[in-house]
Symmetry: C2
């Protein structure tokens, strides 16, 4: 049961904030945005203490939400938890498509079954909760749609005023989410990078809390719970490969961070999954950087793909994504839009799972990597489906026969 009325403490082991670029540290109990060096900040915990306060065997008695890992999340007072019941999403085996396409152990982690229908709810739940705890009353952000919908919802639940700016080409249903939750929201004739500049100017003038991707440290803490959940769902083991649709890359950075934390706590062994950053050929800055062996990406011009959520020409956390990929012997792969739509339909027809195009891109990438021999048939492979297919009406074009009541089939 989700009870926001309590007055208990979470027993979090939150310690401080740390810059992954220049190693500067910051007080986590003050509002912080980027490091003075321009890098995103990461949240650090006392992991030795965490291993004492939380034991694996405590987990089954906890509700199936991401708050089951509260000792490893940044919120101090349970009364500040803003939750709609997000997390512990299903890990679904894909046996039929696996048999057809040569994967013996294929799984989908399904973030479509979460409030707001996308994994963005994780970042919003933890990000908004911590913003509430730190006394934030107004926040603003650019978005490709789903994050805006999620942050608008959780901000509403927290009583925080939200301003959201999204491209006109973002999924239309996410406009409804922002509107119905009462946020101030705007469209822009441009990309998320243009929305970001508009938000940046407004924040500089108004002093609002900047909830842009990685410009506050807590969204990643919500996203990392996908890593905890995967480890728990695989019985405190990890799969061989995780394919992740990569726009801003926060989820991939988060999963990597989570698994490293669990290693430090001794909850999982030394093995790491090979992390794969999946992008679309129409916007593949991370893939280009990885192919060149670079540590950071360059702005991608004329970005465009049907997998709209990953249309991010230049991610602030690109260096963290690339580090996670290099460090796990992973890779970065770009897939064509028609392969994405083909993968989406194939998974729906054979498995009944209607993935968002970003999620479907991971299966298109898995097929490519299998063909190249980079993925072996026996390996355990996880497709990270970041959202529900129902949020993207334009990816399917049914043309049904229309009957009159007296007609027969």
């Amino acid at each position: 049961m989700i009870d926001n009325g309590g007055n208990r403490m979470t027993n979090t082991t939150l310690s401080h904030l740390e810059c992954p670029k220049c190693a500067a540290t910051y007080d986590a109990d003050q509002v912080q945005q980027l490091c003075t060096c321009g890098s995103p900040l990461l949240v650090r915990y006392d992991l030795e203490e965490a291993g004492k306060r939380l034991r694996k065997e405590d987990l089954p008695d906890r509700a199936p939400t991401l708050w089951r890992y509260k000792e490893l999340l940044p919120v101090r007072d349970e009364a500040n938890i803003v939750s709609l019941g997000e997390g512990m999403t299903p890990l679904v085996r894909f046996d039929r498509v696996g048999a057809a396409d040569g994967f013996d152990n294929l799984y989908m982690k399904d973030e479509g079954t979460i409030p707001t229908g996308s994994f963005k709810a994780r970042g919003a739940a933890v990000g908004v909760s911590r913003a509430k705890e730190l006394g934030v009353d107004v926040l603003a952000m650019p978005t490709n749609g789903n994050a805006g919908g999620a942050w608008a919802a959780y901000a509403a639940r927290a009583g925080i005023k939200a301003t959201v700016v999204m491209p006109t080409s973002a999924p239309v249903i996410t406009r409804n989410e922002c509107d119905v939750a009462g946020s101030d929201f705007y469209l822009v004739n441009g990309l998320i990078s243009d929305a970001g500049k508009i938000v940046g100017r407004a924040i500089a003038e108004q002093g609002w809390y900047d909830a842009s991707t990685l410009k506050e440290p807590y969204r990643i803490e919500g996203k990392k719970t996908m890593g905890y959940e995967l480890a728990e769902q695989f019985g405190w083991d990890v799969p061989d490969v995780i394919l992740y649709p990569t726009g801003g890359g926060v989820g991939l950075i988060g999963i990597y961070k989570a698994l490293r934390e669990l290693q430090e706590m001794g909850w999982i062994g030394d093995k790491m999954p090979r992390l794969v950053a999946v992008q679309a050929t129409g916007c593949a800055p991370i893939v280009k950087a990885w192919e060149a062996g670079e540590k950071a990406s360059e702005f991608w011009n004329d970005a465009m793909t049907v997998a709209f959520g990953i249309t991010v020409p230049k991610a602030l956390g690109d260096f963290l994504v690339l580090e996670a990929v290099y460090d796990t012997n992973g890779c970065a792969v770009a897939v064509e839009d028609d392969k994405i739509l083909h993968a989406q339909r194939r998974l729906a027809t054979l498995e009944g799972a209607f993935l968002c195009p970003e999620g479907a891109a991971t299966y298109a990438a898995a097929l490519q990597l299998k063909e190249q021999g980079w993925i072996q048939a026996h390996e355990t492979v996880v497709l990270l489906n970041t959202g529900a297919g129902i949020k993207y009406p334009d990816t399917v074009h049914p043309q049904p026969v229309v009957l009159n009541p007296d007609d027969n089939l």
Copy 2:
């Protein structure tokens, strides 16, 4: 972890099928549709044995899906379970709107966070699993949209061919769900009752399995798990009032059946929640029957409401819905469409929860019943939100300002 590859038995205590009208019994291990008297059939278990095979304390170690209650579900062989991870949906407290509107203990059971974005997934998961177990290879059904989307998905996963007929005015996104899952699907210029007649004629000719609401006995077994989950989430107690948006009424019948089963097993006490059948004033046959003290409803002409899922002019299980309402000292309430849309926005703005219009109707009804004194402020009240607001783009009409990249907020 959802593993369909096992060969274990579920330990179900499935006994037989029984007609609630004429008390005839049927073999559950043969395909059955309606009773020869025309009534839907109900599934019966050996509940004494169930209490031995399943103990409350076993549940925390089971995955958070509806299959945690497998001893009380009809599938015999785990290999026949067709699951996308459905069930154990969040029970979310509504403290902010409760404080504003005078409910001390208001909750939403959120069926938006389930595969296919609606509670129809429960009926489809159990219904399709049992159909698979009984050797069905083709099924057909009429639908107001969401059930069709769900059955198309689960049938695809099971390798069963599905034919679906829905009104042209059903939510457009459900067409995508039927199409992408590879079902044969058709639109009809008419209501679900017209779709039902078309399906009925095709079934009579082709001998397909009839998956229409209550014409097979197992959909209700999936829906009833909402009742088990509520009892478990309230610590094996029940709330005072459950408000349920009522079209075909299967969920309400199912919750009632589940709680009676738990009582017989001694898992909950004698108290039953007062069950409220919520309808729209544009289609309120159950309300009309309840107000007249009747045991069955009459066909509602010119049915129309924004809560499209409950546009059911005459439900086959109307007598079971009314029995559940009478028997629990519940009631039936009709709400205006504008009150539904107002409730939808109020819950989104204050709680961050974007309910489908059918779910929002339950809050409009709760406000009416509170004003009439039928619900008291201190009572524990559950709104059953049957689906995600994102599936209904036409209920929200945002008119955002459109900026150019150089504009300021």
